[in-house]
């Protein structure tokens, strides 16, 4: 190989590598992102059962119930509509009725949201940004 060919081969290899990495990134972005919904958004843009989403809002007052073993159920509300959520596990320390929450999981065929993650916050005055903005838009929560 001449010097020029060698250089071309190296540059070509590097470009090919970057192209592969870029393609991988876009495929992953297409598949592995989850959209954020408030309960009210679900009637506007329905979510298919099994699709992974984030559901956020306030934990509805009086909705928290402990089931058998480690199951918990509660409702997430945005003031007008609410969605029933089930979760198996330990709720974060700062999980309380009337507080902001973000859950991640999928709807089952019965329309119940099965969360596999309930996001914990470290600060009692902290409101997840998405929840805060959506609630402000709806006028449910004033912010700090």
């Amino acid at each position: 190989m001449t010097r020029k060919q060698k250089r071309l081969a190296i540059i070509g290899g590097g470009m090919g590598f970057l192209a592969a990495a870029t393609a991988l990134t876009f495929v992953a972005l297409g598949q592995q992102t989850s959209y954020f919904y408030m309960p009210g958004d679900l009637s506007v843009r329905p979510v298919a059962a099994g699709e992974r989403i984030r559901l956020g809002g306030l934990v509805e007052e009086g909705s928290l119930a402990h089931g058998a073993e480690t199951d918990v159920t509660f409702a997430v509300t945005d003031g007008s509509e609410s969605v029933k959520v089930t979760y198996a596990g330990i709720l974060p320390d700062l999980f309380r009725e009337g507080q902001g929450v973000v859950t991640e999981g999928r709807f089952d065929d019965g329309g119940v949201f099965r969360a596999d993650t309930v996001l914990a916050k470290h600060d009692e005055t902290y409101m997840p940004r998405e929840v805060a903005e959506s609630l402000k838009e709806k006028g449910v929560w004033e912010g700090d």
Binding site: R3, K6, R7, I10, G14, F17, L18, A21, L24, T25, V27, A28, L29, Q31, Q32, T33, S34, Y35, F36, R54, H66, E69, T70, A88, G89, I90, L91, D93, L94, V102, E104, L119, A120, K121, H122, D123, E124, Y126, P128, R129, E130
Partner: protein, 664 residues
């Protein structure tokens, strides 16, 4: 009174930083050594003034002076003294003050240790440091004054967020900031080189120790943060690919790339423009990290004391410095001489490969972290990018890179022989293969993936050892000769081997935990037992306990080993801090060899049982031990005499003395 002195000192520090950022710059332009000499005293005085301000704030915390709003917001008189002190930076204002304190510290270190640098370069470096300092001091003074008073003074403070009342707060932020801000020195050197329009191999020699120091601190900061989150948050995870974690990981990846490309620049006078760019990128990512963490624009599990309004100011600083430095780069990089093309199969070729992988990995993390912001800006949709994205993009990039790591140090400069190197790595390869087979056959629950990961880790460790063995003349040399040669090897050789082996140790830990961990969530009544990975835990009930500023219910679990041997007790607690009425969970951890049993209490149920989450974390501590080994490697490398800070002139003076050593 001392609080006002602190505030005044901070204003003085700002004024000094203005002097520091202009006078030496003009001096370098005009060739006036009198003006350039202003750089050092203004830098050092700026550090002292910031130090006084920081000490004043710390004193206010130690005395629980609630007339200071910041202290009232974040402290309590009943808090243990350690947490009173660390509480100084457990809030937005104090943490920014710590940031600037460390920035001015690094500036002073350059002023003190950089006496042998060319006068204009030193003047420009100090000026750029001064600019960064001025921007952040203005930020603190204008938007985040920690010295604001309250009249009348409240009697009791509102206490520090209980999650931050931990030794982790004493270690994690200072280490992380030493890393973040350490890259400011590399940034300043890069900008100074661009201002001068001249850069040579010596530049790389000056920048490398600073990069290495920042890298060591950042490695420690990230690892410490990871362990802190692991035991404090009570979910037993060590890395969540959370935006705040990624914010610290991106500068680390770019810094690691910089560390390697600077070697090529120093040795082969090549990759100059690239290395300068990496130095700019590493600190730009540090600034981005500061912005992401402080502004809370991305929802994070690690978000503390965030403030979107003040985030805009940091964004302005970010735009100013990133935009300014990249514009300068675009204008001047053409003037820098490019290095020659080199053979792909060579040490420098391997280092380029390393850079290709590491910067691509940085880019994927960058895209994954900021993608939600782009999408929201474009379409208004709120999305989140989680661990699956990073597992799909980052991991495939890392695996080939790590497989290639042992080859790098064995390849010769200029023209390496891949076949010969492969032969030399035969033993390491055999060892890795054996480890895989052993893992598959003898370890419970070890699937193919686990075996591959463990094999990769062993490959890295044995590859690093092979490098040291070959350098000391094994297998040809006699053992005594080899040992004396090993002792005489340059410290940077040990540094490289240790850092690479540390990565291997970490890979084993990560693999073992992600593929073989056991998890159980059970409701337990006193006297009941639960079994995990052969270990049996008996719940012995809850005992109330009163701490200095909290109340807790301690759940005691008696642990029995698989062979029936009692191993003692592990305790997890539910705490309440009355000052904030905030509950926390203290995880109970029992370390068994390199593995851990992790117990976390949940909510009590109506029937008297309590929900308990139990994990078996095999080899989990190797993750952090690996980071420690990497840090030791970096430190050993930093102590290499070739890399001594401010090396150039002293190096000349020492060449005579160093000669005999070269012959060893």
């Amino acid at each position: 009174m001392s609080v006002e002195i602190g505030h005044f000192a901070l204003v003085l520090a700002f004024a000094l930083s203005l002097v520091q950022s202009t006078v030496p710059l003009v001096g370098a332009r005009l060739g006036s050594s009198a003006l350039m000499r202003v750089g050092e005293p203004s830098t050092i005085m700026g550090f002292l003034m910031t130090g006084i301000a920081f000490a004043a704030l710390t004193a206010a915390y130690m005395q629980s002076d609630f007339s200071v709003e910041n202290v009232w917001q974040n402290s309590h008189s009943a808090k243990p003294m350690l947490f009173k002190i660390t509480g100084t930076w457990g809030n937005h204002e104090g943490s920014m003050l710590l940031w600037v304190l460390i920035l001015t510290l690094f500036g002073s270190l350059v002023a003190v240790f950089g006496r042998n640098l060319p006068a204009t370069l030193r003047a420009n470096v100090l000026a750029v440091q001064g600019m960064v300092g001025a921007a952040f001091l203005l930020f603190i003074l204008a938007t985040s004054n920690p010295f604001a008073r309250l009249v009348p003074a409240p009697i009791e403070g509102r206490d520090l967020n209980p999650i931050l009342q931990d030794v982790g707060l004493a270690v994690h932020p200072p280490l992380l900031y030493l890393g973040y801000v350490g890259f400011s020195v590399c940034f300043a050197f890069a900008v100074a080189a661009l201002i001068e329009g001249r850069v040579d191999a010596a530049w790389a020699r000056w920048v490398r120790p600073w990069t290495l120091a920042a890298w060591v601190f950042l490695t420690g900061g990230i690892a410490m943060g990871s362990y802190w989150a692991y035991y404090e948050l009570g979910w037993g995870g060590f890395w969540f690919w959370d935006p705040v974690e990624n914010a610290s990981f991106m500068p680390w990846l770019a810094g690691t790339a910089l560390l390697h490309s600077a070697i090529v620049m120093e040795r082969r006078s090549a990759l100059k423009i690239w290395t300068i760019l990496l130095a700019l990128v590493a600190f730009s990512l540090s600034l981005l990290g500061t912005f992401l963490v402080r502004s809370g624009v991305l929802t994070s599990v690690h978000a503390f004391a965030t403030d979107p309004t003040r985030g805009v100011f940091i964004l302005a600083i970010l735009v100013l410095f990133v935009g300014g430095s990249f514009a300068l780069f675009a204008a001047r990089s053409g003037a820098l001489t490019a290095g020659g093309v080199f053979h792909p199969i060579s040490r420098e070729g391997a280092l380029v490969l390393n850079n290709l992988f590491l910067t691509t990995a940085t880019a994927t993390v960058f895209v994954g972290t900021l993608y939600p912001l782009f999408i929201e800006a474009l379409s208004g949709d709120k999305i989140s990018v989680g661990a699956p994205f990073f597992n799909l993009t980052f991991v495939p990039l890392m695996v080939p890179l790590l497989m290639a790591v042992p080859f790098g140090p064995l390849l010769a400069w200029k023209r390496g022989d891949l076949w010969a190197v492969s032969q030399r790595l035969f033993v390491a390869f055999g060892g890795a293969l054996a480890a895989m087979i052993v893992a598959l056959l003898f370890v419970d629950r070890a699937a193919a993936l686990a075996a591959l990961g463990i094999g990769l880790g062993v490959w890295l460790i044995l590859g690093a050892l092979t490098d040291l063995a070959l350098r000391s003349g094994l297998p040809k040399a006699r053992l005594r000769v080899a040992v004396s040669r090993l002792v005489g090897l340059p410290r940077s050789a040990f540094g490289t081997a240790l850092a690479h082996a540390g990565v291997g140790v970490m890979v084993i830990g990560v693999t073992a935990v992600t593929t073989m961990q056991g998890e159980r969530i059970v409701a337990m009544k006193p006297g009941e037992t639960a079994e995990i990975a052969g270990y049996v835990l008996r719940f012995d009930g809850l005992t109330p306990y009163t701490g200095p500023n909290y109340l807790e219910d301690r759940g005691i679990f008696a642990v029995t080993a698989p062979d029936g041997r009692p191993l003692g007790e592990v305790m997890s607690a539910k705490r309440v801090y009355p000052a904030r009425q905030m509950p926390t969970t203290e995880a109970g951890i029992m370390t068994l060899g390199f593995s851990q049993l992790y117990v976390s209490l949940g909510d009590p149920r109506d029937d008297g049982a309590i929900v308990v989450r139990i994990w078996w974390k095999p080899l989990v501590t190797l993750i952090w031990y690996g980071a420690v080994v990497m840090m030791v490697g970096g430190t050993v490398s930093l102590l290499d005499r070739r890399l001594r800070v401010g090396a150039p002139a002293r190096r000349k003076a020492r060449t005579g003395a160093a000669q005999p050593e070269a012959g060893r």
